[in-house]
């Protein structure tokens, strides 16, 4: 039972810590963020299992790591010196279709890995690549030569409509009034549209949203589900 309660407390604490550290923590990790993520998981599990360890011995290091992470993120955001120190700098592995031996050796990145990465990104020939940049997060960014890069609508002189942000209005039978007002429509407009699709009640709608083209997309709830909800 003690372990159960401790687990709940530590889970909430670690989740809050991760949340406070910001969104970057869950996505692309910088070296210092990876260290924090690894340490956090280890620190939380020890007092979770061993009831002889006071909870504070888990909470204080997590709190300290969280503070350090916020401090380092702040410093790397504001001061270039710290950015270079903690995050490093991107390295150019291929320049104008030529692999940089020096950089590969420095990054301990072997040719097989490089060619594999290129293949995975859809580039078969090194000569087609203008730049291949090894980012600070460890990912490889490829900039193909102009003649090898995919054509855009602009290149082909095709008309294009600007894309709008999709906004959900009803999710699982629940109306989001705030989102409805963002779209510039009112409840009457929504009800009219629902009626035209043969829906009388908002609760019967599984999903209703304004899509990227500005059209209203409506999906009715399954008949069985409808009965259950009612």
């Amino acid at each position: 039972m003690v372990v159960f309660v401790r687990t709940i407390i530590l889970y909430i604490f670690v989740t809050l810590a991760m949340r406070l550290m910001g969104k970057r923590q869950i996505g692309e990790l910088q070296p210092f963020e990876l260290v924090v993520a690894l340490m956090l998981s280890e620190l939380a599990t020890l007092p979770m299992q061993d009831t002889a360890i006071p909870l504070i011995h888990g909470i204080i290091p997590i709190l300290t790591l969280m503070t350090l992470e916020i401090l380092i993120s702040f410093l790397t955001l504001k001061v270039e010196f710290f950015r270079k120190l903690f995050c490093g700098t991107p390295d150019i592995l291929i320049k104008h279709g030529k692999v940089s031996e020096e950089e590969l050796r420095r990054q301990r990145f072997n040719l097989d890995d490089l060619i594999e990465e290129l293949r995975m990104m859809g580039y078969l020939d090194i000569a087609d690549i203008e730049y291949a940049i090894l980012e600070t997060s460890g990912k490889l960014s490829i900039i193909p030569k102009a003649e090898k890069s995919p054509a855009t609508r602009e290149d082909l002189n095709l008309n294009h409509q600007s894309v709008k942000l999709p906004v959900s209005i009803i999710l699982d039978g629940v109306l989001n009034k705030k989102n409805l007002s963002i779209t510039g429509h009112d409840l009457n407009w929504l009800m009219e549209n629902l009626k035209s699709k043969g829906i009388e009640d908002i609760k019967d709608v599984f999903i209703a949203m304004i899509d990227s083209k500005g059209n209203l997309f409506i999906q009715r709830r399954d008949k069985d589900e409808e009965k259950n909800k009612k």
């Binding site: 009831t51 002889a52 360890i53 006071p54 909870l55 504070i56 011995h57 204080i60 709190l63 300290t64 969280m66 503070t67 916020i70 401090l71 702040f74 504001k78």
Partner: protein
């Protein structure tokens, strides 16, 4: 511009607040452990003197007072230090009570020495020193 400065100040204040809370908690814990262990050690010294002078009744009363004091402190200590340390102290105290009851001078004094050592060791564990850091 103003918004950016405001956000920078806010982040700096959060970092400062977090660091100061962590260090304050650390100092408070250290201070609490120092004070309580000092008080426990004082009581143990009184018991030791009484045992040395064969005042067994006084020693027994004093050890029972010490036990009730320890029971109170133990609750807070268990939130701050490893429970093995607390168990060792409790175990030794129980043995000491029995030796005092049996008026066994040699064993009582040896357990007093062990108990003193365990209690002295607690604030040492949490002290900010090079020895503890490395």
């Amino acid at each position: 511009m103003k918004k950016r400065i405001k956000s920078n100040i806010k982040t700096s204040l959060i970092i400062l607040l977090l660091f100061s809370s962590i260090t304050s908690i650390g100092l408070l814990v250290n201070n609490f452990l120092n004070n309580t262990s000092y008080s426990l050690l004082n009581s143990i010294c009184v018991i030791q003197l009484n045992i040395e002078h064969d005042n067994w009744d006084v020693s027994y009363n004093e050890i029972m007072k010490l036990k009730s004091e320890w029971e109170k402190d133990k609750k807070i200590w268990s939130a701050l230090i490893h429970h093995d340390e607390i168990d060792k102290i409790s175990e030794n105290m129980e043995l000491l009570i029995e030796y005092i009851k049996a008026k066994d001078k040699t064993n009582s004094l040896s357990h007093i020495a062990v108990l003193k050592n365990y209690i002295e060791h607690i604030p040492e564990l949490d002290k900010l020193s090079l020895q503890n850091i490395f």
